[in-house]
Amino acid sequence: MQDQTLSNKAAYKPGECAPVILNVENLKTQFKTNQGLVKAVDGISFSVHEGEVFGIVGESGSGKSITNLSILRLVPVPPGRYADGHIYFKGKDLLAVQEDEIRMVRGGSISMIFQDPLTSLNPLLRISIQIEEALLQHHKINRKQARETAIGLLRAVGIPDAERRMDDYPHQFSGGMRQRVMIAMAIGCNPEILIADEPTTALDVTIQAQILELIKSLSDTRRMTVILVTHDLGVVAGTCNTVAVMYAGRIVEQAPVDELFAYPLHPYTKGLLASVPRIDEAKKRLYSIPGAPPNLIGLPKGCAFAPRCDKAMPQCTRAYPPEKCSSVHVDGLGASGNPGESNTAVFDDRHVVRCWLYSDEKDLNKIGSNL
């Protein structure tokens, strides 16, 4: 099965990239509600390479959190449903394994930290018990050893006076310290993948800088792969290696971080980048994407961004655009500003986009015959 997952990545030149550790294929997570079917995640595919920091950006309701919950199979079923797709982690399809097997993955080889550290910690238990819990679950060790390890973990995440603070309750910690406790819990079993779901959204900016620094250094020293979910493009720019941009349950664009910011292709990505105020720029009128993110119930056919897009064409509302690697369309990119340097040196197969602007006649003919 592993060979099969790797063969999908034939596009990668050997030696250029670390091996794929997580491969999501055509994942569809849906929710049944009284109003109708919510396609929270609607057929997304991506691969995460060992040791990289993979960013997922999107606005609220874009499906970024559900993607992550799906990886650990934490979406409540029902009302949720994994309608289609596979999530291969080291060759095993996490969506197909038994419940007790996925339980060993959770907190073991893949662990997760959440946005709000206060609601993710049990207010009635001392943090020592909460950190030791995962250690005792996954390793054959006794309480005393677990405690030793837990103290070491708290030190590793930069909590001063770790031995004494071990027996404090969550409310005795500040927001930044609570997030450090969460990270200590998450890295306890030396996970191969750490999923961080908006880890700094609830924190102040100086504390955010501390936490991001910690996550980066942990991923370096422990060779940990990180999936970082955020809505803040600034955080992505400083932390991630590869970025996927999600809109209405789909990945509209994915690229190495430098390339995404320098040569965004999808109109949504372009709009998003232009609408963020930057501290290093002079005051100016911000670009704003018209309209609001769509309701996920009864999404119309075609590209969900089309109603807000200033480049929308007739085919945009007829069918969902096929995935395109940007290298095919390098010549068409003169508009992005630097046509001279935009050729093969910068672009490679890893920049994929789903937009009709970058498809050719063959794709158009396909939907023509479908209609």
């Binding site: 100086t206 609408s275 105020p277 290093d280």
Partner: protein, 341 residues
């Protein structure tokens, strides 16, 4: 440049919250100094940003100016009158010129009032209990006409008037909040984190709308936010707060170009820039530790504990906000690293 009369003068404003202990016999054990002796001016037509991390007192300052929060000490002089000395009658007519846009568009609108009523409420209050002239001029059709014009101004279709808050998206709700704040044609609008609950693409819409309305109605903004990038894009001048005190005041260009206070510098360097090569190049000052508790603060500089450049003097004496050598007169900082003019 600012030779005009300030529209709003805040002088030695202090807001303290009592800290009590005991359930039956309550006893005050101390004061939490949320805002501690701050002074600043706001001139007509400008946007002044108030930034700081959570707990620095920026929202308390805003609420105190709007008289939504009791004040312990100080003066809030608005158009030449001290708001703190007004009777409730006088305050009601003064509030016409001073309106607030709140942070959370989900909880700042009454769920049982439709959009029309939300926007019309301030007009109706003035029609019932305002000045005599207002009571006569604000008839039902006049109010309706005003509400529809406001809805149009903030980009809400007329058909939405009968809808209730839960039927609107966050951005639309914030538009209702803005229309409500503008209903009485105020001079000064206090915007308390107006965009922090909104998505990135909606944030830009609301910020642009607020800018447009400023040009059209000649508004003065006191804009409060924790996002420094948003504030610097929106404001002419920026006030940086830390633990209830003002540490620096400067024009937004100058604050980014030559930040003086060590806290401002750390804050600026912590703001991520959406540009990967530049992010890698930046040198970061990462502050150690958390913001200390504002309870029982010591006498020295509130930032002394986390300051990389703290000297012995900083521990015991609190620096005053003043202009310093070599910097424009509008740029003020409260730090002993610089020589006073």
């Amino acid at each position: 440049m600012n030779r005009r009369m300030p529209q709003l003068q805040v002088r030695n404003l202090s807001v303290y919250f009592p800290v009590e202990r005991g359930i039956v016999f309550r006893k005050r054990i101390g004061w939490l100094k949320a805002v501690d002796d701050i002074s600043f001016d706001v001139y007509p037509g400008e946007s002044v940003g108030l930034v700081g991390e959570s707990g620095c007192g920026k929202s308390t300052t805003a609420m105190a100016i709007a008289r939504l929060q009791e004040v312990n000490k100080g003066e809030i002089i608005f158009n030449g009158r001290d708001l703190l000395k007004l009777s409730s009658e006088e305050l009601r007519s003064a509030r016409k010129d001073l309106q607030v846009i709140f942070q959370d568009p989900y909880s700042s609108l009454d769920p049982r009032m439709n959009a029309f009523d939300c926007i019309a409420e301030p007009l109706r209050v003035q029609a019932l209990r305002g000045k005599k002239a207002d009571r006569q001029s604000l008839s039902q059709p006049v109010i309706a006409d005003k509400v529809y014009r406001l809805m149009d101004k903030v980009g809400l279709a007329k058909e939405y008037a009968q809808r209730y808050p839960h039927e609107f998206s966050g951005g639309q709700r914030q538009r209702i909040g803005i229309a409500r704040a503008l209903a009485l044609s105020p001079q000064l609008v206090i915007a308390d984190e107006p965009v922090s609950a909104l998505d990135v693409s909606i944030q830009a819409q609301i910020l642009n709308l607020m800018k447009d309305l400023q040009g059209e109605f000649g508004l003065t903004y006191l804009f409060i936010a924790h996002n420094l990038a948003v504030v610097s894009n929106f404001s002419d001048r920026i006030i940086v707060m830390y633990l209830g005190t003002i540490v620096e005041i400067a024009s937004s260009e100058e604050l980014y170009g030559t930040p003086l206070h060590p806290y401002t510098r750390a804050l600026l360097s912590a703001v991520p820039i959406p540009d990967p090569p530049q992010e890698r190049k930046r040198s970061r000052t990462i502050l150690k530790g958390d913001v200390p508790s504002p309870l029982n603060m010591r006498t020295g500089c509130p930032f002394a504990d986390r300051c990389p450049d703290a000297k012995a003097r900083c521990q015991n004496e609190r620096p005053k906000l003043s202009t310093v050598k070599g910097i424009t007169a509008e740029h003020q900082v409260a730090c002993y690293l610089y020589d006073k003019v």
